[in-house]
């Protein structure tokens, strides 16, 4: 683990750098990149080679002998009623959960930036608690808390609201779970970004008479755009690809596409259709992820110019 042998010229140094990053890159290539390529082939009907083990036990699959392949599996999945209702559910749950996480994180982050009170510290400590709890447990605890016999309904019944909605096994329940699980990352990113905004800048805006809302919109939001984009993309991608939260808290149908892909594979034994669902999720995630890459790349140029 030598820290690079810098003295031997630029070329040697570059090669050392490349050699050092090779292990994780190779690991990701072998365990992620390569399986994705194989999966694309399988979803297009290539059932031989590395796909032969899976396709030997698969039911209801489309196979081609050669060529580019066929979109038959895609046609079948993408036109099915169940897929479409699940897709709609996935999209709105993702959008709503992400929006709520960003709003909550901004609220807590702002309060933390503008006040050093104990209440602010308590809020920030509270909001990272979910990071401590394994997702399986969090989902189970949330289900017990919001379900038919859970605390929320019991408390509501004591307050005379016997018809308080049951949120266990519903999509709004899934949104609650996603917000709970993803809140710490949002708060950490946004509050750490806000801490970096110079106090002089905020005070200057306030001194010329800008209201708190105006200061937030014209100073803090633009200065903290990159962390916000990071929170949006990572939360959206985490919700899109999530399994445990919707599987434990959500309804059987419509459900999110993550558990749907899993059930298609494990219960229906249709790995090809499951891969098609995974591809759709992947495309959605790549779309969201490109916003993140663009935002961080743009953020990069500023310090480079400055130095």
């Amino acid at each position: 683990m030598s820290p690079g042998r810098g003295g031997e010229g630029a070329l040697g140094r570059r090669l050392v750098g490349l050699a050092m990053v090779l292990p994780p890159v190779a690991l990701v290539f072998f365990l992620v990149g390569f399986p994705i390529v194989v999966a694309i082939g399988y979803s297009l009907g290539h059932v031989g080679g590395l796909n032969s083990a899976v396709s030997a036990i698969a039911q209801h699959q489309v196979a081609v002998g050669g060529g580019i392949g066929t979109l038959e599996a895609y046609r079948e999945v993408l036109t099915s009623h169940q897929f479409l209702t699940d897709l709609v559910a996935t999209l709105w749950v993702t959008a709503l959960s992400t929006a709520l996480v960003v709003l909550l994180a901004w609220g807590i982050g702002l309060y933390l930036r503008l006040s050093e009170s104990r209440a602010a510290k308590a809020l920030s400590a509270l909001s990272v608690v979910p990071l401590f709890i394994p997702v399986v447990i969090a989902s189970y605890a949330l289900l017990a808390f919001w379900s038919g016999g859970g605390f929320v309904r019991s408390a509501a019944a004591h307050l005379g609201m016997a018809r308080f909605p049951i949120l266990g096994y519903t999509l709004p329940g899934v949104v609650i779970g996603q917000v709970w699980v993803n809140l710490p990352f949002g708060v950490l990113m946004i509050s750490s970004g806000l801490q970096r905004v110079p106090t002089a800048l905020i005070d200057a805006a306030r001194d010329v008479g800008a209201s708190l809302a105006r200061t937030t919109l014209s100073v803090l939001v633009p200065m903290n755009l990159v962390p916000t984009v990071i929170v949006v993309t990572f939360t959206a991608i985490a919700v899109l690809g999530s399994f445990t939260v919707p599987y434990l808290i959500g309804p059987t149908a419509p459900t999110l596409l993550g558990p749907q892909a899993t059930v298609t594979f494990q219960s229906f034994n249709e790995p090809q259709q499951a891969e098609v669902v995974a591809m759709v999720l992947f495309l959605l995630a790549v779309g969201v992820g490109s916003a993140y890459v663009r935002a961080t790349m743009r953020g990069e140029r500023v310090p480079e110019l400055a130095s």
């Binding site: 890159v25 992620v32 038919g148």
Partner: protein, 291 residues
């Protein structure tokens, strides 16, 4: 709400949140208290509720406490041999995976943070592929790959599948930590005669240590919590705690799952308390800003 009260009072002294008329301040104080209470309810409520269940006898809606209390569920959990084995397995896999991840990723993190080489940004971003593709899609084709390589139901297979979830943490966060070590300090050490290696171990590593520690703990927890991939690759030979949890949720009374939840949370909570200060201090946030 004395907390919120003194909070509002102190906030009023700060230039950013200026003192308004008394009515405004009281309203702000009440609002703050309400928000804190709501967040306590939202975040801690479910955890407290589940903890109560672990000691509950019969408990029916809409009672806010169980009809009776008991420790029987704890005895039941500790006397079930399968459960104990899964605790052992989880406590075995997580350190092995974390150590392997550190070995593979930390040198790379140093290179990403400190050296310049062609394709640095692209390679750094490419690691993100582990987050973008839905895991189940990966596991299906990985199963084919693992079948051909005889990795199904093997120790190595489970380690590999759990490694995936640690790569981003173990590379991005330490890379940012290494990048933020001031070069002037290293140069100062070199100036007073410290060798390259000595400078690395006595200046660079200690300064980057909090970031590395955060990455280690998050990787440990990612491995410790991993259920889906371990289920596909490891069962029936390797049934870890999170996998047990799924079957407990489906097959046992709620109290047993509650007891098991507490057991499963103990390592997480202890480890996170260790690094809480550093996580809050921005090391996690730094890592995701790709510089």
């Amino acid at each position: 709400m004395t907390t919120a009260g003194s909070a509002a009072a102190r906030a009023a002294r700060r230039p950013a949140l200026r003192a308004g008329p008394l009515a405004h301040r009281l309203a702000a104080r009440a609002l703050t208290g309400l928000v804190v209470l709501l967040l306590v309810f939202f975040v801690l409520g479910p955890l407290v509720w589940l903890t109560l269940w672990a000691f509950a006898g019969p408990w029916t809606y809409p009672s806010l406490t169980p009809q009776s209390w008991t420790l029987n569920w704890w005895r039941l959990v500790f006397s079930t041999p399968g459960l104990e084995r899964s605790i052992e397995l989880s406590l075995l896999f997580a350190p092995v995976v974390t150590a392997a991840s550190a070995l593979i990723c930390l040198p790379a993190a140093y290179a990403f943070g400190r050296l310049s080489f062609p394709g640095r940004r692209l390679l750094l971003v490419s690691l993100f592929a582990t987050n973008a593709f839905p895991k189940i899609g990966l596991y299906i084709t990985m199963a084919g790959l693992f079948f051909s390589l005889h990795l199904m139901s093997t120790f190595l297979g489970v380690v590999l599948v759990q490694l995936i979830g640690t790569v981003v943490f173990m590379t991005w966060i330490p890379a940012a930590a290494f990048a933020s070590v001031p070069r002037s300090l290293e140069e100062a050490a070199r100036d007073v005669g410290a060798g390259r290696l000595r400078t690395f171990w006595q200046v660079t590593v200690p300064l980057a240590l909090p970031g590395i520690l955060v990455a280690v703990i998050l990787s440990f927890l990612a491995s410790f919590d991993e259920a889906q991939g371990t289920f596909l690759v490891g069962t029936p030979t390797y049934v870890t705690m999170p996998i047990q949890m799924y079957s407990l949720v489906l097959n046992y009374p709620q109290q047993v799952a509650a007891v098991f939840s507490i057991l499963l949370s103990v390592p997480s909570v202890l480890l996170m308390l260790l690094v809480r200060r550093h996580v809050m201090g921005g090391h996690l946030a730094e890592g995701f800003q790709l510089r």
